[in-house]
Symmetry: C2
Subunit: 212 residues, 2 copies
DNA sequence: CCTACCGATCGGTAGG
DNA sequence: CCTACCGATCGGTAGG
């Protein structure tokens, strides 16, 4: 009796051990291959190798899966920016801001589906889970901290931290989405790096000819 | 017999006279109210008051409707930018670039669904109709012309027209999408104008403290 | 975590 | 431009 129960338990439980994680990955794959319309709980379940009712044990509804993907996206975005920061190991605020941009763009080009979920209108404003808000705030704070340091060091002329952060964010995010959506021909990794460096240098030095 | 035919023709034909246009509007309404997943040919047909088979007389498939909406979006975007240009009637390149940004952002906030279709991943790279490409190129050219004039007048320091255009476009587009997706609290029309003016001034003058 | 089922909706076509 | 129909898929629930 006991042995039978153990055997059944083994067969019944999800082999990979973490169905929730498998569903997030499956959802991501659906998104990158078929766009937002291809994302469904049922298809994700099939990709993960479980019945289409199984996901409801981990996600209350489809929206919850989308939110989980978005949260993961924010965390990976933050990680990508921090990796670039760690790589350069420079204290110069200008170099650090460029590193943030490189990290942002690299993440966008490597896993465009994440950005599509976060900023592509899949997330309806319904009810945003608190963990998602936290993850988003953390990503923004990563940028904001560097901007604040740049202002403190005197290298950034404007003093409104959020205004300057928004300028950087808008430019890097704008380039990322334009590239992702094919509005601009896709560059390779190296060209992408040169692209973002050029844009951020323009933003730093200004487009206008100095008035003597 | 003739009168009957006339009567039937009148009853059978689409009342508004332009079903194609009605379907574009219906698709747009679906998008703005329910997001990308709410857009379907059948729902659009219902909104337009026709049977769900009727749209196929005007659009080969769903993709064709999406492309038509996107094309319309590009044209309205171009028109919005040109309206702002006409409004200021100034020759100063800096003022004109800001006007372009104001027009872009105004359009984005007034009809976010268009931008969602154009840049939100609904358009899959499958086969882009030539009219859509033309409309997109026209929007970009509107910006590029002003940048070229600014370079010619000597007010813009960098000489690469496309690089400078991309910088402006990325920043304005980035701010627009961040606002549309609720990443940043929605401002009113006046605050939005101040926002884009502030960002473009930052881009123009540069974020860095001038060396000496 | 599964099978079986619900009502609804979808894109698309046949045939008129 | 319509009715009627096709096969497929969807979100979600019941019940175990």
């Amino acid at each position: 009796m006991v042995t039978i129960q153990v055997a059944r338990k083994k067969r019944d439980s999800y082999q990979h051990g973490d169905l929730r994680e498998a569903l997030v990955q499956a959802g991501l794959k659906l998104l990158s291959e078929g766009g937002v319309t291809a994302l469904s709980l049922r298809a994700a379940a099939q990709l993960a190798g479980v019945s289409h009712a199984a996901p409801y044990r981990h996600f209350r509804d489809k929206e919850a899966l989308v939110a989980a993907i978005a949260e993961r996206g924010f965390r990976l975005l933050t990680a990508s920016m921090r990796e670039e920061l760690a790589r350069i190991r420079a204290a110069d605020p200008r170099a650090r801001l460029i590193a943030l941009g490189v990290g942002y763009l690299r993440f966008a080009l490597e896993s465009p589906a994440y950005l599509q979920v976060i900023f592509g209108g899949v997330m309806r404003g319904d009810h945003v889970p608190p963990e998602l808000g936290v993850a988003g705030a953390e990503a923004y704070q990563t940028l904001r901290d560097e901007v604040a340091a740049g202002i403190a060091s005197g290298q950034l002329r404007r003093k409104d931290v959020d205004q300057v952060s928004l300028a950087c964010w808008s430019m890097v995010h704008g380039l990322s989405t334009l590239l992702i959506n094919g509005a601009i021909p896709h560059p390779g990794p190296a060209a992408a790096r040169a692209m973002i460096e050029g844009l951020l240098r323009s933003l730093g030095e200004g487009l206008y000819t100095p008035t003597k």
